[in-house]
Symmetry: C2
Subunit: 228 residues, 2 copies
């Protein structure tokens, strides 16, 4: 790693940030994450050490810890990427749209092969491992916190002030729980199948989950459309 990248004639410098330093850091970070995932694939959870990851990423053990606080954290960057994506979609929605509708739209955006693939793989590999599952939980929780922030801003922008903390937190938590439930069901039924058919099923599950939430889980009228 970082043995003087071959100084490509850097013709354009897109406005501000991507300095050499930042590019290197991003690359290293990615290399670590990739190496960790590769080892997870080849050796299985719990059967490799930080030293192994460092070696595979061609950095020192110490540098690994400059980037991630643990093996799990390195792997969880996949999940974080996935959820950050969801959050970004959510923030793009118009501020006057109902939260649930925004959530539905944001989640449906995720059901595309490129986005879901890494998540699906990590999910299946992590299944058996308690440690990994804990960091997955943490990632979802982190996302919940960010949704709360996003929704808070949105409310502040539209309705002046005085919003109900309970409403905010309960809603954000439920949205995430339902999103997670949909993915759990999908994983359970389809494993790592990323075919168009399977992905459309995922989309439908996400929509249905938001529908359940929006209708207060009325036990009658067993929700919407084409459950095979």
């Amino acid at each position: 790693m970082s043995t003087t990248p071959p100084a490509i004639a850097d013709s354009k410098q897109p406005a501000t940030s991507p300095s050499r330093r930042e590019l290197n850091k991003a690359a290293t970070r990615q290399a670590i994450s990739d190496a960790a995932l590769q080892l997870l694939r080849s050796k299985g959870p719990g059967n490799f050490t930080v030293e192994d990851i460092a070696e595979a990423a061609a950095i020192s053990r110490r540098t690994f810890f400059n980037y991630f606080s643990s093996t799990e954290a390195a792997l969880a960057s996949v999940t974080h990427g996935f959820l950050d994506n969801a959050l970004a979609q959510f923030r793009l929605r118009p501020a006057d749209e109902p939260i649930l509708e925004s959530a539905r739209a944001a989640l449906v955006q995720l059901a595309d092969p490129m986005t879901v693939a890494p998540m699906a793989e990590l999910y299946s590999l992590a299944q058996s491992n308690p440690q990994l599952n804990r960091s997955e939980l943490e990632a979802w929780d982190h996302c919940t916190a960010q949704i709360i922030e996003a929704a808070r801003e949105r409310f502040a922008r539209t309705s002046g002030g005085e919003l109900d903390e309970l409403y905010l937190r309960a809603l954000a938590g439920s949205v995430i729980s339902c999103g997670k439930a949909a993915m759990d069901v999908w994983f359970a039924q389809h494993g790592a199948d990323l075919s168009a058919k399977s992905l459309s099923k995922l989309r439908q599950l996400l929509i249905d989950a938001m529908g359940l939430l929006g209708s207060g889980f009325t036990p009658t009228a067993n929700l919407s459309t084409d459950r095979h």
Copy 2:
């Protein structure tokens, strides 16, 4: 610890299980948990080791690990106790009652001083610490899984077969999220205040959260009763 308990004339042996061995184990487990909590109080999160806990509980370091897999796990037994309690309440509800109503009833049962006190203390002490928060999350997740089981059994008993996995998981996850949201708001507003007034507020928050869930988070009609 375990230096031959003073052989109290064990007049009654309640039916089956509580043998001397099991009693000792339960006592040791409790002693460890207590010692850990005590250290958390006196030194703050992250400022004591497993060895410290073991010493305080008068056992060896190795024995600690026979009971708990980490410091956090020892502390999380508080939360597990709290949530197991909730689950037990849930299971006591009649099988034909709507799930949300059962959840509401079960959660309200928890808003009593003896039950909430340890949870509230742990919550405030754990606030700052990432490690502790992770095991808290894990505890809530574990509870979600058990609620799913409980609800599954209930459905199986009443409605024959064929129930919707998505419905089950989304509902259970949302119920837990809302319960957690209510507790979060309560903690944020009342800290460790266990007065009757504060507890009645907690009850109301729990009821309101279930109400929100049952009404599909309709943004209009800002829910029910006496907010502060």
